[in-house]
Structure formats: structure tokens, C-alpha cells
């Protein structure tokens, strides 16, 4: 059986300069309490890996607003004026990655692959600096794995064994990121007894979850 820690305890685990993956898509399914706490305690020089930067106030924006990130790896920053401003001003290093490539690179990092070969981005700016290989006469980009020190994810339900279930579009990058970090911290919406999530519905087995953030009181 697992136990829970507070959001303050969880944030304290993450040092300045850490690389952190943040689940969420346009802020839906993002670990909001952890993100706001990290911003509040003034973490610096973080490398943030997130599908997108969502609109102001959502997703990674609270961290961007206080200049907590030195680097951002994402597929889309179009809804966050602050992310765009910092990028154009050179205040933050931004690596833009096609979304399907981003999720495959994170998955590769999580499942022990040395990378994947994707046709996405061949002949575009996304090819810059990438190795190209021909497989059966077609060109593919060699895309390397991405891992992080911490994965901060959210989920719908969590049982006492740490098994996680997600719901609707709040699933997104969360289960993949749960595989690809040294330390996995989850912020569940609900806690349920073991058995409420049937084995067939578990999307992230509790065995790979390191810390669980308890409910806000």
C-alpha cells in the first residue's frame, strides 16, 4: 500500500535546475497544484517538457510567469503570449517538436528504446540537426529519446496501490510521461479503494508511481 505526501513535500523534492515533464494538453489534465507550488516557492532554471504552454493561467504558464524555466520542449506555444514573448526575446530556450514526435520521444525514453524513426518533419525545419536514414527507400528522421528527472502528472482516479486511471482528454501525455522520468509524482483528482479500478482499466500500474500528492484539505 502507498501513502500520500503533501503538495509542499512534493515540490520540495524538486531542486532548482531539474528537468520536469508536465502532463496536460491545453491545461486539461495538467498537475496544477504542483505547478503553482513550484512557481510559488521560486524554483529556477527548470527544463520544462510539456505538449504545449496552454493559455495564460493554465498548464505551465504559472512557471513561465515567474521565469522559472530556462528551457522549454513543447509542440505548441501559440496560446501563451508570455511563452512567445520570452522565446522571441531570447529569455528562454525553446525546442519545438512535432507533437507525434514529442510523444514518441518521451515514450522511447520510457520504454528503453534508443529512439524512433519517423517520417514526420522530413524536408521541413523540424529536420534541422537530425540524422536522416533510409528504410526501404523512404527517408526517416532519427528521433532520440527524452527523459526527465521528474514527471509531474495528474490523473482521474488513484487507488491505494497507486494504480491510475485517466478520463477523456485529460489522459493525453500523462501515462507516457509516467514511464519516462526517474521520479514520478502524481496529483490525483480522486482516491478510491483497491478494486474500484478493475485491472483492465488501469492505465498506469502503481508499481511505477513514486509519490502521490494527497487531497487538498
Amino acid at each position: 500500500m502507498k501513502t500520500a505526501i503533501t503538495v509542499d513535500e512534493a515540490a520540495a523534492l524538486i531542486p532548482d535546475g531539474a528537468s520536469i515533464m508536465l502532463g496536460g494538453f491545453m491545461g486539461i489534465g495538467a498537475p496544477d497544484r504542483l505547478i503553482r507550488k513550484l512557481a510559488e516557492i521560486g524554483r529556477k532554471n527548470l527544463t520544462v517538457i510539456s505538449n504545449d504552454t496552454a493559455k495564460p493561467g493554465y498548464g505551465p504558464n504559472p512557471l513561465l510567469d515567474v521565469h522559472a524555466a530556462k528551457k522549454l520542449i513543447a509542440s505548441h506555444i501559440g496560446k501563451s503570449p508570455e511563452a512567445q514573448r520570452q522565446m522571441l526575446a531570447g529569455e528562454i530556450e525553446v525546442e519545438l517538436v512535432p507533437q507525434g514526435t514529442l510523444v514518441e520521444r518521451i515514450r522511447a525514453g520510457g520504454v528503453g528504446l534508443g529512439g524512433v524513426l519517423t517520417p514526420t518533419g522530413v524536408g521541413t525545419e523540424a529536420q534541422n540537426g537530425k540524422q536522416v536514414v533510409e528504410i526501404d527507400g523512404r527517408p526517416f528522421l532519427v528521433e532520440k529519446p527524452i527523459r526527465a528527472d521528474f514527471a509531474l502528472i495528474s490523473c482521474w482516479r488513484c487507488d491505494y496501490a497507486g494504480n491510475l486511471a485517466y478520463t477523456m482528454s485529460a489522459q493525453n501525455f500523462n501515462p507516457v510521461m509516467a514511464l519516462a522520468a526517474d521520479v514520478v509524482i502524481v496529483e490525483p483528482h480522486e482516491f478510491v479503494p483497491i478494486g474500484v479500478i478493475p485491472p483492465d482499466d488501469v492505465r498506469t500500474p502503481g508499481a511505477i508511481v513514486d509519490y502521490i500528492v494527497g487531497r487538498a484539505h
Binding site: 491545453m26 486539461i28 489534465g29 501559440g78 507533437q99 514526435t101 522530413v122 489522459q171
Partner: protein
Amino acid sequence: MNSKEMIARRIAQELRPGMLANLGIGIPTLVSEFVPENHGVFFQSENGVVGLGHRPPEGMEDFDLTDAGGTFVMAVPGAAAIDSALSFGLIRGGHLDVTVLGGMQVDERGYLANWMIPGKRVAGMGGAMDLVQGAKKVIVAMEHTAKGQPKIVRECDLPVTGVRRVSLVVTELAVIEPTDDGLLLRERGPGVSVSAILEATAARLIVPEMVPEMRF
């Protein structure tokens, strides 16, 4: 009927029951409004929903269910929720019958540019590069010109989204099909003359004898 609605209505005609279709942000999203809920096409969105529905009744939003633009939607009966790896697996793996994408430029090669204006707007490509690469059919939905400047050009000067020829370009003035020989003018907007289309287009167009009007 304004330009955007006209484009969306015309593209809605391309959707067939049983198809798996993805709609980008902007005009493409409008397309679903002209498809009846019981039509039988399944809308997929990058954020992992297969079977996106219309907007929910006010006050009945599920905070964990939006389209890829972050707008609250419903799911239709028979919907499925999947993670981003499978969502893009469907896209890149050729399981998507059609994607409708917004465009900044399309050129004579049929290449689309829709993800960045160097030095100005840097949105990021999001899922666009995977969609252009992977969908069986790529339809571009865009207004024919931007601030009076043609968006259909000889060769994109904006960074392209992919080096694959798109299937169809639909604007309020024309339906254009990129082919081996170049851009083929298929249809004209209601009451729009061929010469008006040529004037608003920087690319060379192949113009057949007969160019029928779009029908709605």
C-alpha cells in the same frame, strides 16, 4: 453566408459515414457544425478523443473533455478516449481518413505552410506536421487571400509543414486540387468568375473548359 461558413460547408460535403476525420483549429473546427450529429463520421482530436461531439449544454461541461483547441465539447455515443501516443499513432499510421487544416500558404507543389512566420508569430507545429504526413487525405481550409495578399503562391516562402502534396484546397473563391501537373481549378465560389480567382491567386492554375460553381 460568410467566407468561413462557405468554406466549412463545402468541406463538410467531403465527409462520409464511417470516416475517421480530424479538424484543425480555426475554420476547420467550423466544419463539424455543418455535419449532423447522426452523420456517422467520427471526429478525432489530437488530445485523444475519437468521437468528438458538439458543444455541451451550458453548465454541463466536463472539465476533462475538450477539443484540441481547448473548447469544451461532448463525446458521441461510441466514443473512445486514448492517450497521445495512440492518438498520434492513428494519425501517423494512416488510420485517419481525412484531416482538415488551416493554411497560411499553399504552393504549386501542393505543399502547405501553416505553422510559423519567422521572426513574428511562433506558434509551433503542434500536430500539423504529423497530420500532413499521416492522414490519407489532407484538405486545406483557408480564406483565399490575407490582407489582400494571395495565399496560393508559386512557392511557399514560409517554412512548409510537410513535403507531401495536400489533397484539396478549399477557399471562399475556389476548390483547387493539387495534381502531378500543378494546381487544378475544380470549382468556383457562388457567382465568382474564373478571372477573379486568377487575380487573387499568385500560383499558376490549370483551368478546365468548365469550372462548375460550388453547391451547398
